[in-house]
């Protein structure tokens, strides 16, 4: 029996609208963003909430994403609870400010409707914008559907603003596939959400009589120490993220874990994915089981910090993996998931892991494609073939 105070309240929302609803409920103080497909609807809905007086936040219109994140940084320094949203080229225009937000330890929350990077221009989903954030010091969460992005957005504020963490956090969803797909989303009551996230505790009082310096010069004598500190904040965040997931389960009845596991108890081969593909992978795993292949699915909800503990736990008995990457690490031996898994495993001699790039620029992935790829993976593992990135769904 669960002691859930879950309400039966739900809304019909796309991923984008689910994010906007969550942001309204956490009662942000400040929003700055610039419209870009497929994220636009998030800020459109938020500006409407502000205009209608449903959300008492300062909404600052700016001329570019670079300015949007800059404005967010200023507001976050001043102690505001801050939100922004973006996609693709918008994110890369913010790029200069991404490490500034994390280096200053500002708990800004960003929604990312993931979209392929130019050139050539493409508005559809892949994870190349999201994956490009890997080195910029943001906690990175990824949702599978609109429900998850609603939940993760609320949790992102609590994680980011925790005094043990103080790191900016991105909650991402697949552009269009999730951002524009209408779904039933179970929502919490405003008061429940507000109690859960609490008030943001400002670290400073901006006061002309007692001036502070934000972003000072830190050269050979001190820069290294500040980076070491950030690394520690990521370590601390692992614990906080697990706590927040547990606490959220109590109020919502929805269980979150850094890694989602599906039919992994007795699995002999695992499909690894992130985002909406996790859902397709579940169906593929069921199909494979009908054919006598014991497949399971591992879905990444937490991407940074890398859930090393969970990776080791989950892969204790499963040593054959088909890793699906909706991102191409150009010039690299393998994609980010592959590298994260390999580097996380304490014992890796017997693991057979094969990397597959799929779905770039929004190219569909089907159940059959996953089923076939898993079968191929099993063959490759049997023959002990070396790993070479393969492409699924490209015209040869």
């Amino acid at each position: 029996m669960t002691t859930v105070a879950a309400t039966k309240k739900f809304i019909e929302a796309t991923g984008n609208l689910a994010v906007a609803y969550a942001v309204k409920q956490v009662n942000v103080d400040f929003i700055s963003a610039y419209p870009i497909t497929p994220q636009t609807i998030i800020v459109e809905a938020l500006s409407q909430y502000v205009a209608d007086g449903e959300l008492k936040a300062k909404f600052v219109n700016v001329e570019s994403e670079h300015s949007a994140l800059s404005a967010c940084i200023g507001a976050s320094i001043a102690g505001a609870r801050v939100f922004t949203a973006t996609s693709s080229q918008g994110l890369v225009l913010m790029y200069e400010e991404l490490p500034v937000a994390s280096g200053l330890r500002l708990p800004i929350v960003m929604a990312l409707s993931m979209r392929a990077l130019s050139a050539p221009i493409n508005i559809h989903n892949d994870h190349s914008d999201f994956m490009s954030m890997r080195e910029q010091g943001w906690i990175m969460l990824a949702a599978e559907d609109a429900q998850e992005v609603y939940d993760l957005t609320i949790m992102a504020f609590k994680i980011a603003e925790d005094e043990r963490v103080l790191l900016p956090t991105v909650a991402a969803m697949d552009g269009f596939t999730i951002s524009h797909t209408l779904q039933r989303v179970d929502v919490l009551d405003d008061e429940v959400v507000r109690k859960f996230v609490g008030e943001r505790k400002a670290r400073f009082k901006l006061d002309v009589e007692n001036p502070l310096t934000f972003g000072p010069l830190a050269l050979t004598d001190s820069y290294f120490e500040f980076k070491r500190q950030q690394h520690e904040a990521f370590k601390n965040s692992e614990k906080v993220i697990r706590e927040v997931f547990k606490e959220y389960e109590k109020i919502s009845g929805r269980k979150y874990e850094p890694l989602k596991k599906f039919m992994m108890e007795d699995a002999e081969v695992a499909i690894v994915a992130l985002g909406s593909t996790v859902g397709i992978a579940r169906i593929a795993a069921k199909k494979l089981r009908e054919e006598g292949i014991k497949a399971g699915v591992i879905g990444f909800t937490l991407f940074r910090p890398t859930p090393k503990v969970e990776i080791n736990e989950t892969l204790k008995d499963v040593r054959t993996l088909a890793v699906f990457e909706r991102h191409l690490s150009l010039g690299a031996v393998a994609g980010p998931h592959y590298m994260d898994i390999i580097s996380s495993l304490d014992k890796k001699d017997d693991v057979k892991i094969y990397d597959y790039v799929y779905g770039l620029g929004g190219r569909d992935i089907t159940t059959k494609m996953i089923v076939d790829t898993v079968k191929k993976t099993i063959e490759k593992a049997k023959k002990n073939e070396p790993m070479e990135v393969e492409f699924v769904g490209v015209r040869e």
Binding site: F204, N210, L212, L217, F226
Partner: protein, 92 residues
């Protein structure tokens, strides 16, 4: 800035008191040092006005170099109308 402290003790996010730039003695970047020859100096204040680091100070009725912040760029020596400033190699 937090010189000599462990990373555990340093200010989170490098947020420090205002005016902390003063703690950076940038003088140690210098490879050449300006030396004023007061027998030639006519107190025109051109060096004082042009030093990009404000490292030339007015002390009483003469100019002086503040070696804590002088980076040794040599602008003062170049601009001095009486060639009263000599750039000398820093001893390492």
């Amino acid at each position: 800035m937090s010189f000599n402290k462990s990373w555990k003790e340093m200010e989170i996010g490098a947020v420090v008191k205002g005016g902390s730039g003063l703690l950076y003695k940038t003088g140690n970047w210098r490879s050449e040092k300006p030396i004023i020859d007061y027998t030639k100096c006519i107190n025109c204040l051109i060096c004082w006005a042009l030093c990009p680091d404000s490292a030339i100070l007015r002390k009483g009725n003469k100019v002086e170099v503040n070696y804590d912040y002088c980076k040794g760029c040599g602008i003062c020596a170049n601009e001095c109308p009486t060639k009263a400033i000599n750039m000398e190699k820093e001893e390492v």
